[in-house]
């Protein structure tokens, strides 16, 4: 029986986060894929509060919430530190991770759900404004190296990097670049580097597959009465 399991789904950026963390630590785990539209008994038992993926199960004990799982993985396996050593840098990584989940990701989701040109334009404006802030944060935190975490993938790399697949899918669906070399050169370079990393390659969903999946979701949202 596997000591470490992750309950998740291939398309979820939140699920990608603990997987990248475990890969960075070279920890073997069993991936238990949830069926789209259903929630397994194990999921409901392991995350009774939110009933959501991802859930990490370590020696039969569940841990929930993607970035809390990432911290847990960092706490348990000490190689390849994910959070920076300095307390202030840690605060910055955490601050931007919260920004991404509370502000930036909802805008990306807003773009995916937008049914009017107006709504799309608003979402895009917010996304570009956010990317500008993240570009500045990258410059400050990377200290000239390749990742927010410096030489290696760190907490904030995982928080933002897990969204790159969906960013690429939105770029394809809408026909323009969000991660634009001209607008945010550092982030554009970082995204390539992140996707190519050995801890990420195997778990980053393919853009084409996400595009197809997005179309399925969009059809579903369009057919549902106003939300």
């Amino acid at each position: 029986m596997a000591e470490v399991k992750v309950i998740g789904a291939w398309a979820s950026p939140f699920v990608m986060r603990p997987r990248v963390a475990l890969n960075l630590k070279k920890v073997e785990y069993e991936f238990l894929e949830e069926e789209f539209g259903k929630k397994s008994e194990l999921l409901l038992k392991s995350n009774p509060v939110y009933k959501k993926i991802p859930v990490l199960i370590h020696n039969d004990r569940p841990v929930c919430e993607s970035m809390i799982i990432v911290q847990y993985v960092d706490d348990v396996w000490s190689d390849a530190a994910i959070l920076p050593a300095d307390a202030y840098d840690r605060a910055l990584h955490r601050f931007w991770a919260v920004y991404i989940d509370d502000k930036w990701l909802p805008s990306l989701f807003g773009l995916a759900k937008a049914q009017t040109e107006e709504a799309k334009a608003e979402a895009v404006e917010q996304l570009f404004a956010g990317l500008k802030l993240l570009e500045e944060a990258f410059e400050k935190l990377s200290k000239g190296k390749g990742f927010f975490g410096g030489d290696s993938i760190g907490y904030l790399d995982i928080a933002l990097g897990s969204l790159v697949g969906w960013v690429r899918a939105m770029e394809k669906l809408n026909g323009f670049n969000l991660l634009d070399e001209a607008k945010t050169p550092l982030l554009a370079g970082w995204a390539e580097r992140f996707c190519a990393h050995e801890a990420v390659k195997g778990v980053m969903p393919e853009t084409e597959k996400l595009v197809e999946f997005a179309k399925v979701l969009q059809a579903k949202w369009r057919s549902t009465p106003a939300n």
Binding site: V63, C64, Q71, Y88, R90, R94, V98, Y99, L133
Partner: protein
């Protein structure tokens, strides 16, 4: 340069930070941002992304987002009053972080609608609020604090409830004592701590403040 806290007496997010600093015995200067009047240049400069309080300044360097601030305080002053279970127990640490996050997601985020709206919206918000408090009460169980014997992260995160509960009760039309008696008992234990007693305003004062804000928003 030392430690400064940009905050306002009534914000529960700021109270958490005050409690944490008091628990750690850290001296700091409270720089009041009067929300009813406006935002200072220092606030706008220190939190350009959100322009919100609280902001902790440590030797001039700003830390924003109350839970991020709490983690920072715990890590910058590790020798006194640790907020988290020991490093040897990462699962307990993960659980503490989970429940602190739950307080924000399921209790604090929605609580504003109890008093910032009327009728159906307020009733819905009160219902959701009570449901989530009951979940928390279940998590507390028979423990003295959420942190067990020790006052910890979850306790610090939720403690400001003891300043705001009266306003929630009045505008939400329910009784905290009736709905979550064990949680209220926990709250009273928290208030016995000096850090909490001196960081939380009187519930009556908060209730009056809320009434003033409601008038400003034309809700009365």
């Amino acid at each position: 340069m030392g430690v400064d806290l940009l905050s306002y007496w009534v914000t529960p997010y700021g109270m958490r930070v005050q409690v944490a600093l008091a628990e750690k015995g850290v001296e700091y200067e409270f720089k009041e941002e009067n929300l009813l009047v406006g935002k200072s240049p220092l606030l706008l400069q220190s939190n350009p992304v959100h322009k919100k309080i609280p902001v902790l300044l440590h030797d001039g360097k700003p830390v924003c987002e109350s839970l991020v601030i709490l983690s920072y305080i715990d890590e910058a002053w590790p020798e006194t009053a640790p907020m988290l279970p020991p490093a040897a127990d990462p699962l307990a640490r993960a659980h503490a972080r989970f429940w602190a996050d739950f307080v924000d997601k399921k209790i604090m985020d929605g609580s504003v609608n109890i008093w910032k709206s009327n009728g159906e919206a307020a009733a819905e918000a009160a219902k959701a609020f009570i449901e989530s408090l009951k979940v928390l009460e279940g998590e507390l169980g028979e423990k003295k604090y959420f942190g067990g014997e020790g006052f910890g992260l979850v306790d610090i995160t939720l403690a400001p409830l003891m300043a705001w509960y009266y306003a929630y009760e009045k505008y939400g039309g329910f009784s905290m004592e009736a709905e979550v008696p064990k949680l209220m008992a926990w709250g009273k234990r928290c208030l016995e701590r000096e850090s909490v007693a001196k960081s939380l305003p009187e519930p009556e004062k908060v209730y009056v403040f809320v009434g003033q804000v409601r008038k400003m928003f034309g809700l009365e």
